[in-house]
């Protein structure tokens, strides 16, 4: 590779136990600036736990997490948000009584220093327009459809001016037109240079968007590499993709 790779996130042998259960064991992973990494694996593999561990929701039991050259293993959630780590939730977490605008304004207000309520609302309008929710700006978040609430989550995450963005199943529960729309947004974000780590079950989207794939299984990282290699990796086929998928893929080319 000719370009200089700049590491933004690094995990070295990170583990997380929930009393007896080892949700993550010995995960080492690094993410470079500008990458779009797909995080895949069967249900219960520890994908969301991994994101929670990095963001400080459930701090690592052992191991070290560094972000932008700083140790963030024991950081509080709100601090990680201010550093530029932002995420969307698999189960959307809006402020239900607030309008869509105020939802996004809250994200801008509390994550950026020196922001006032007024300037945060202005910034929020731009982000809502980006995800295509400008018509719903004054509607309360509780009245939005699921697809809209997912996009609202995305707008909130973007209002935090993230350096690293975690997308936790933004496409789950969406129909194919909505998936296409969301995929287009992710492409746009990647083109803007935001580093993205996305948890995703739709392989079509993963292969379409990601520059690299990491595979978790039973809390262990079982593969990490270029998308073309990953889908042929026998361990990944066994654990997650299944023989059928591999054969269909091989037949296609």
């Amino acid at each position: 590779m000719s370009e200089i790779r700049q590491e933004i996130l690094h995990l070295s042998s990170v583990s997380r136990n929930f009393s007896g259960l080892k949700a993550l064991s010995d995960v080492s992973l690094s993410v470079n600036k500008g990458e779009v990494v797909g995080l895949i694996g069967p249900n219960g593999a520890g994908k969301t736990t991994l994101v929670n561990t990095i963001c400080g929701v459930t701090p690592a039991s052992s191991g070290v997490v560094t972000f932008d050259g700083r140790d963030i293993t024991r950081i509080k959630t709100y601090q990680s948000a201010r550093l530029g780590l932002s995420r969307t939730f698999q189960i959307v977490q809006p402020f239900a009584e607030f309008s869509a605008l105020d939802n996004v304004a809250a994200a801008a207000l509390f994550s950026q220093p020196g922001e006032s309520l007024k300037s945060a609302r202005e910034a929020a309008r731009a982000h809502l327009a980006f995800v295509g929710l400008d018509a719903q700006a004054d509607q309360s978040a509780a009245t939005l459809t699921l697809a809209m609430r997912k996009r609202l989550e995305l707008a909130k995450a973007l209002a935090m001016k993230p350096k690293l963005l975690f997308l936790d199943e933004v496409n789950a529960g969406l129909n194919s037109a909505e998936v296409e729309r969301a995929t287009k947004l992710i492409h746009q974000l990647a083109a803007d240079g935001i580093t993205i780590v996305m948890i995703e079950h739709l392989m079509k989207v993963v292969l379409n968007v990601c520059t690299r794939i990491a595979v978790l299984h039973n809390g262990r990282l079982i593969a990490d590499g270029a998308p073309r290699d990953i889908i042929k990796d026998p361990a990944v086929v066994d654990a997650y993709l299944g023989q059928q998928y591999a054969q269909r893929n091989a037949a296609r080319g």
Partner: protein, 316 residues
């Protein structure tokens, strides 16, 4: 400033005219009304904005009363003693808030309730300082005549109410109020967008305690004698919640109206049903909450007007 906040200030302004019309009894009621309104407004910061149902009002009322009482017995003038109560309650509540507000919902309610008992026992046992169960006498402040005394304490309580209302309005329009609103709706998401919820909740708890503490101090100076079972009465914790629910949770104007209405009910019921007054009051409160679950503020003047004109239109 929103229209309801202006309405609140106008309402408080109107109350100030009471001494022009009233006798000593009316002034006593007016002082109680201002005190209740301070309770309700203060509770609204932590209970209405942040959504943490606090039962700690009585704890800080008693603490404020005793702080002022003790300071005045040591010769400190009333204004300074009140300031002492206010600052002590602010700092102590903020510090306790950091710990207590980690609990949510019912757990927090019980923990805040236990605070009242803890403070009461502390005061009961610190006999040298507080007089324990014997109570504490507090030196007279003005004391020239009954009416001038009543007028003085009415205006003092009214002034405290005005300050409380201004602070609460300022909070509701500020980043702090916005953040507390976020915490009430979804605390996980609040943390995720970079809101330091522990800090916000502690500040809210401190603000909700400090004016109650100052009101307690004023109450002590007003009645000249306090004892633990009087000022640490659990009813002081319950009443503000009832007032806020009656008036409309979260709305400063609503909770103040709730406080006035509650006091009115209490007084009327007390006069007419001396034997069964708490029973009648309880039934009235339940009826109000059943038929007006969002409080008095849900009775918008506009809505009533529309309802009336709609009916007229049907007739035509």
């Amino acid at each position: 400033m929103t229209r309801t906040n202006i309405a609140l200030l106008v309402l408080i302004g109107c109350v100030a005219a009471l001494p022009l019309f009233g006798d000593a009894y009316a002034l006593r009621l007016g002082t109680m009304a201002c005190m209740y309104a301070i309770f309700a407004l203060s509770w609204n910061i932590v209970g209405g904005f942040a959504g943490y149902p606090s039962f700690a009002t009585a704890a800080f009322f008693g603490l404020g009363a005793y702080t002022t009482g003790i300071l005045m017995n040591k010769g400190v003038p009333l204004p300074l003693s009140l300031l002492g109560s206010l600052v002590l309650c602010l700092l102590l509540a903020a510090a306790l808030g950091v710990v207590l507000l980690r609990l949510r919902g019912h757990y927090f309610a019980i923990a805040s309730l236990s605070l009242v008992e803890v403070f009461r026992e502390l005061v009961n046992n610190a006999t040298d300082l507080t007089g324990g169960g014997m109570g504490l006498n507090i030196p007279l402040v003005s004391g020239s005549s009954v009416l001038s005394d009543a007028t003085f304490f009415f205006y003092a309580m009214w002034g405290l109410l005005l300050i409380t209302a201004l602070v609460v309005i300022a909070v509701s329009m500020s980043k702090l109020g916005f953040g507390l609103n976020c915490i009430r709706q979804n605390e996980t998401a609040s943390n995720m967008v970079g809101l330091n919820s522990t800090l916000y909740k502690a500040v809210a708890f401190g603000l909700s305690a400090c004016f109650v503490g100052a009101a307690g101090g004023l109450y002590a100076a007003w009645v000249h004698y306090i004892d633990p079972s009087d000022v640490f009465d659990i009813l002081y914790s319950v009443k503000p919640i009832v007032m806020a629910l009656m008036g409309g949770l979260g709305s400063p104007l609503g909770v103040v109206c709730g406080a006035f209405v509650y006091l009115g009910l209490e007084e009327v019921v007390w006069r007419n049903y001396i034997q069964i007054h708490s029973g009648v009051l309880g039934v009235l409160i339940i009826l109000l909450l059943l038929f007006l679950p969002h409080g008095l503020v849900s009775l918008h003047a506009g809505k009533i007007w529309r309802g009336l004109s709609g009916r007229k239109a049907k007739h035509v």
